[in-house]
């Protein structure tokens, strides 16, 4: 290789061999992958004999992780691009309700309802992005506003149209069967750990989660827009100077998080069979926590979609794992909060060690 011969030809005291370990540590998702293994080991030790290690237990936490992970992956791209989206939780409630009201109340084919919900999500995402890029206000403020506004509109309109805040009967709507195959089917596996005939259900949302993470990672690492996302998060002025369409990219990223919320809402509505105006509450914070645990820098310009996938896995394992340990699940929030802070400290430490100047 040319690069090797160069190093041979000109030995330089400034050239330091980079160990494969440093290379690994330099990956932003390293902490999250290590953390996921650690969390799994801890629960395997504490709750291994109480069902955590069974296929059913695994399917259980993977389902939780998948729904959060779809959201977290999209949010990770946005956060690498230097912005926040606090409105994704409300967006889950809104799009879920659009699907339910249109299909149940108005008798539309559910596929059309799902499509309308997607258009709505993309439009609101674009509006978030436009407001952020036009006003130059922090996206934290803009999307904090849309967090409340979207939730309010969802509750208000649903009550006006249906007189209730919950809409059921999704399973009787037109086109439900095919839609539920795509968004809410499950792979049934006979659980060998039980003496009785017990099946573990692996929902298709797990597949969506992996697909979304794979596509996001490809975009981020192997496309021009991916490079721009790092650039606009790292230094928007510098990116603009070299011709990166900063505003357009940001708007697209906001549309991406809104679309992820729509996907989660579709999966939820079809698998539960109903929609609730309050669905998705606080999901925006869970998503940010998963992204940050995944190694993405809060200030943008650095991070990973794979990390977000593993961040969501950690949150899912802890949330469901606690149930298996027999500890009151009220304590989950304490773990979540502590984990967030520890993860940021560990990630900062690793990043500093890996990218420190000589």
């Amino acid at each position: 290789m040319a690069s090797d011969s160069t190093e041979m030809r000109r030995p330089d005291e400034r050239v330091r061999r980079i160990s494969p370990m440093t290379r690994l540590l330099r990956r932003p998702e390293f902490g999250a992958i290590g953390g996921a293994i650690l969390v799994w080991l801890i629960f395997a030790l504490i709750a291994g004999n109480r069902g955590f290690l069974t296929l059913r237990g695994t399917a259980n936490y993977l389902e939780v992780a998948a729904q959060l992970g779809i959201l977290a992956v999209a949010v990770s791209l946005l956060m690498i691009g230097g912005e926040f989206d606090l409105s994704v939780g409300s967006m889950i409630g809104a799009t879920g309700m659009i699907i339910a009201v249109l299909s149940v109340q108005f008798g539309w084919n559910i596929w059309v309802a799902i499509l309308v919900a997607l258009v709505f999500a993309l439009a609101v995402g674009a509006l978030n992005g436009l407001l952020v890029t036009r006003t130059r206000l922090p996206s934290f403020i803009i999307t904090l506003g849309s967090l409340f506004a979207i939730r309010g509109v969802t509750i208000g309109v649903t009550r006006l149209v249906t007189g209730r805040t919950q809409v059921g009967g999704i399973k009787e709507t037109l086109g439900y069967d095919s839609a539920s195959t795509v968004f809410a089917s499950a792979l049934q596996v006979l659980d060998p750990s039980s003496s009785r005939v017990v099946y573990a259900n692996f929902p298709i949302s797990i597949l969506w989660w992996v697909i979304v993470a794979a596509v996001a990672t490809y975009i981020l690492l192997r496309t021009r827009p991916g490079n721009w996302i790092f650039g606009i998060g790292g230094d928007p002025a510098a990116a603009r100077n070299v011709g990166v369409p900063v505003d357009r990219m940001k708007i697209l990223l906001f549309m991406g998080t809104a679309a992820a919320a729509w996907l989660v809402a579709t999966i939820q509505v079809l698998s539960v069979g109903s929609a609730d105006t309050l669905r998705g509450e606080q999901r925006e914070f869970y998503a940010i926590i998963a992204v940050v645990i995944g190694g993405t820098l809060l200030t943008g310009g650095y991070g990973s979609a794979i990390g977000a996938l593993f961040g969501a896995l950690i949150v899912g394992m802890v949330q469901q794992g606690i149930v298996f340990t027999g500890i009151d699940s009220d304590w989950f929030l304490v773990f979540l909060g502590a984990m967030l802070i520890v993860a940021v400290l560990v990630n900062n430490y690793i990043r500093k060690r890996a990218s420190e100047a000589k």
Partner: protein
Amino acid sequence: MDSRPHNPILEVRDISKYFGTVVALNGVSMHVNPAEVMCLLGDNGAGKSTLIKLLAGVHRQDKGEYLVNGKPVHFNSPRDALEHGIATVYQDLAMIPLMSIARNFFLGSEPTTGRGIFRRFDVRAAHRIAREELEKMGIDIRDPEQPVGTLSGGERQSVAIARAVYFGAKVLILDEPTSALGVKQAGTVLRYVAQARARGIAVIFITHNPHHAYSIGDRFTILKRGRTLGTYTKDELSREEMVAMMSGVDELERLEHELREFRDQDAQRLADAIHDEEENYG
């Protein structure tokens, strides 16, 4: 004064720029030829920054002509200037510390491979080209994947220069590239400037350090209070004359005088203080 026959690649004639009531530039003329380093010298407030921003397409002049290859141009944005081959490397670098060298190098102009939806960022080519181009400039990077934040200030400047050269800069405007650097690092950057000149690029080198200017420059244009004091070739101007012209000899002498006075006053105050102490406790 400069009397060589010239076919400048970039030239401004009698250019003026006002900001409200402030006259930032007042009838400034200068030009730069291919394969030449033209140093633009001046103290703070001389109008250097305004002139660079004007050349880079950030500002537009209120009076005067801006010619590229002998033709008048009107730039509306830095992008326009870039398209004419005029690249500016700013002091604050426009490099993103957390991104790798290769990703920084190609930001906004990434090489791609494949077609349609399979069109993707050719990471391998990016690494190879970044390494090769930096090598051509004599910059020895260890690993194109390492974050720019791990490079020293001089190395970062050098990468920024190499990037401008690779993307076809014919005129390279360097805004104080050495001012924040140590002696050794400044030397490194000056060497890359010489490399760029050897490749036929016209360099406008902005500095207020006469020593850096004198070691690399072919010609020197001195700005003071928004006006040109003149353009000189190296043999027309000694280093001392240059320093004197930049700040004004009388000003330097006045400064020295003031400093001496401060020193005398301090000495007097100290003596008084000691005297007081002795009176109180003595």
